[in-house]
């Protein structure tokens, strides 16, 4: 009898509750770190949050900065340095930042 590997095995594994839970756990660490590092530029600052938009077909866990000045905090401007709270928090969590991780 020939062994036939399941071609959708990785996809199935990716959307397992345990996998998504591990992603959420890592995202929470990043979000907590980013909240420590971030700066607020406006009177009503947002926060760095974790958003889990995973479904049965895809695991999508996001770390989102809802501060209206978040882009200036992250990337800097002529008036302020790039404090990079999100990128730094990713690195501090022992993870590696990639712009477009390859989707399997």
């Amino acid at each position: 009898m020939a062994f036939l590997p399941n071609p959708t095995f990785l996809k199935q594994l990716e959307v397992e509750d345990e996998t998504v839970g591990a992603l959420e756990e890592a995202a929470e660490v990043v979000a907590a770190g980013a909240n420590e590092l971030r700066h607020s530029f406006y009177r009503e600052p947002g926060a760095v949050l974790v958003r889990n938009e995973s479904s049965r077909v895809a695991a999508n866990v996001y770390v989102v900065n809802t501060d209206p000045g978040g882009h200036m905090d992250e990337w800097g401007s002529v008036n302020n340095e790039a404090y990079a709270p999100l990128r730094t928090a990713v690195s501090n969590a022992g993870l590696e930042f990639q712009e477009s991780p390859k989707q399997s």
Binding site: G76, V78, E81, R87, F97, E99
Partner: protein, 133 residues
């Protein structure tokens, strides 16, 4: 590493100044080099090989469509120069340059917003003589 990148780009990128901060004269194109962070690669007990996280802001001399073209050309020049950095004689042993983000984000602190492309680079370098900066 900021100083090494600044010095290197200053010699190979034509038509723009390269600085660690915003120049007084912002009517010319410029590249701002910022070290976001660094981490030790491999054995954390041996301070030898590092990944330097460098942000490069490629500013145009103006806003609008013309500025966008200018900033993009500058970004391409900077990116091409950094690709050639490993193997180039600089004050560090550069092994790899990897880009993790590239985006157009006009600087809204200018009026009108100044065109800017941002390049995020990770430069892997071994120990060298001198004071890292």
């Amino acid at each position: 590493m900021e100083a090494i990148v600044r010095t290197y780009l200053d010699t190979v990128v034509i038509g723009a100044s390269v600085a660690g901060e915003t120049p007084r004269n912002t009517s010319q194109a410029w590249v701002k080099v910022t070290q976001i962070g660094t981490r030790v690669i491999g054995n954390a007990d041996v301070d030898h090989f590092h990944a330097y996280h460098i942000q490069l802001d490629c500013y145009a001399s103006e806003g609008g469509p013309a500025g966008q073209v200018e900033a993009f050309d500058l970004y391409q020049d900077v990116r091409a120069a950094l690709v050639n950095l490993p193997g180039t004689t600089v004050a560090a042993h550069i092994s790899t340059v990897r880009f993790t983000a590239a985006l157009r984000l006009p600087d809204e602190a200018f009026e009108p917003p100044r065109q800017r492309y941002i390049l995020d680079a990770h430069i892997y370098a071994g120990a060298y003589d001198g004071v890292p900066s």
